[in-house]
């Protein structure tokens, strides 16, 4: 056994100090030293994405990284989702989405899917279906056929956008912006030929997004 080292991680907002051997994988530190077993191990070789966590905001496979390499970093796991500011009744909109849209069957891949989904929505709040599929392309699901996982993430994107609009309306009600100014303050949205908004979901938002361009579209 090699010498252990003390490392400090901020896990879901809480600072944790643990002793690990250099050869200890981050996923084992999370599951066994920190008792956070929501992060799964599916393949152990970097292929399946079940172990995906966010390290300093970036989705990484925690079976392909040693815990000592995360020393001083912020780590987010699925357990942190319920305490997220966007969570309502202990469920983050992504978790609610997987529930509402039947985004899981056995659930093995779900924590990794949720973390990949979270990273995507933070960078691109209004992703296209292709962008969602790209973002979860490192996560394998043996059960669902992916269709409902995509819908779950779309659900969360809409829900989060609704939340933002509610916030904006609250500001308007406070006299921040008069509703008569509303439409003019929107710019740059896409309207499809048939007049549907580009999210493609009927009556989803009742209004355009202010941010219709994403990095993925420019690539």
């Amino acid at each position: 056994m090699s010498e252990t080292r003390e490392i400090t991680l901020t896990v879901n907002g809480t600072e944790e100090t643990i002793e690990v051997e250099p050869r200890r994988l981050l996923v084992h530190a999370i599951r066994e030293d920190l008792d956070l077993t929501g992060t799964h191990i599916g393949c152990d070789t970097g292929n399946c994405g079940a172990c995906t966590v966010l390290v300093d905001g970036e989705p990484l496979k925690s079976c392909l990284m040693f815990a000592v390499q995360a020393d001083g970093s912020e780590v987010e796991t699925v357990e942190g989702m319920e305490d997220h500011p966007d969570a309502v009744d202990d469920l983050h909109p992504l978790q609610e989405g997987f529930h509402e849209e039947h985004g899981l069957q056995c659930g093995y891949c779900t924590p990794g899917m949720i973390m990949s989904g979270k990273a995507l929505l933070e960078e691109n709040p209004d992703p296209s279906e292709a962008e969602i599929r790209e973002a979860i392309s490192g996560n394998l699901c043996r059960c669902t056929g992916y269709q409902n996982i995509v819908k779950s993430i779309e659900y969360a994107a809409e829900k989060l956008a609704d939340g933002e609009r509610d916030d904006a309306e609250a500001v308007a009600a406070d006299g921040g912006v008069s509703s008569a100014d509303g439409p003019a303050s929107f710019d740059g949205y896409d309207v499809d030929d048939d007049g549907e908004f580009s999210c493609g979901v009927e009556n989803c938002c009742g209004g355009p997004s202010t941010d219709a361009t994403h990095r993925g579209d420019e690539r």
């Binding site: 970097g46 994405g49 989705p59 990484l60 392909l64 000592v68 990949s116 392309s137």
Partner: protein
């Protein structure tokens, strides 16, 4: 399975890393870890000492300097994927980046680590060959520059010495009439190539091909150069017939092996097709031809 125990060093400068590599017994460099961590876990690699270079900030760059595109050892696949400079001027790199592995692996794995890994199925080595690139290494005796053609020796074996650190890989900045492209055939998203072809075409002012570079992925024991096809292209004007002949020559020079994903004859045929497609893209990007029908 767990890795065998190892000592973990985290230098913060190239100088410190090189002196660690020189003074320690049997060291291994750890970069993105996307290939090395599984190798350690399966005990395909059993180093006593690991020199982790992730804390060496001076190696985190991707820029043009002194006539070269320089990719520092800590530039991740995702940095190439999201770079405006790459999108604007380096078609082959822009093609390849989103085709390497998957988003999580691209966030962590590095271009240089991939070149050092020298997997014949790795994508970046083919581009280094197509672009006449170089590998820059720092060792106890200072800096050494190794041309791509001399770097890849055997699968997972390179011209690098154990006490050397690759600091960067670089390729010449393209001239005004140059275009490049990368095409890769894979079974599913996130997979290594069944076959891949990277090409670079440089034209003179009359639209004649002045120099051509073609690197192939996963169809030989290392990333390999299709030199017969290159020779055939140079001095000629681009045409579908010429590209067809070049595709055939590249296929003839490839040596794929049959495996569960396809037999050798199929892969050779794919080298032919991918070469023609990449040549078409490269010529179009150089601004010398305009295709009306996309392949």
């Amino acid at each position: 399975m767990k890795s065998a125990p190892f000592e973990h060093h985290q230098p913060t400068s190239v100088g410190e890393a090189v002196s660690l590599l020189e003074s320690l017994d049997g060291p291994t460099v750890l970069s993105g870890g996307q290939s090395l961590v599984p190798m350690l876990r399966f005990r395909l690699a059993n180093p006593d000492v690991v020199v982790d270079i992730n804390g060496i900030e001076e190696l985190d760059y991707l820029h043009e300097e002194d006539g070269s595109l320089k990719i520092g050892a800590l530039a991740r696949h995702a940095d190439v994927e999201h770079s405006d400079l790459i999108a604007e001027k380096y078609g082959s790199f822009a093609d390849a980046a989103p085709l390497v592995a998957d988003p999580q692996i691209r966030n962590r794995g590095t271009v240089v680590g991939s070149v050092a890994q020298a997997d014949p199925k790795g994508d970046w080595g083919s581009l280094l060959i197509a672009h006449d690139g170089e590998v820059v290494a720092q060792g106890p005796d200072g800096e050494r520059v190794i041309p791509a053609d001399e770097f890849f020796l055997l699968p997972y074996d390179t011209a690098l010495d154990e006490d050397e650190l690759i600091t960067e890989v670089r390729v010449p900045v393209p001239s005004a009439r140059e275009g490049s492209a990368y095409h890769k055939l894979k079974r599913k998203t996130g997979d290594y190539a069944m076959a891949g072809v990277g090409v670079r075409l440089q034209f003179d002012d009359d639209g004649v091909i002045e120099s051509a570079g073609i690197g192939m992925t996963a169809v030989d024991i290392t990333n390999a150069r299709a030199s017969d096809a290159e020779d055939h292209l140079e001095g000629e004007r681009p045409s579908p017939d010429l590209f067809e002949e070049a595709g055939e020559l590249a296929a003839e020079q490839s040596h794929p092996e049959s495996d569960e994903h396809g037999d050798a004859a199929y892969k050779e045929r794919m080298v032919d097709v991918l070469t023609q497609r990449a040549l078409g893209d490269a010529a179009e990007r150089a601004g010398v031809v305009r295709r009306t029908v996309k392949p």
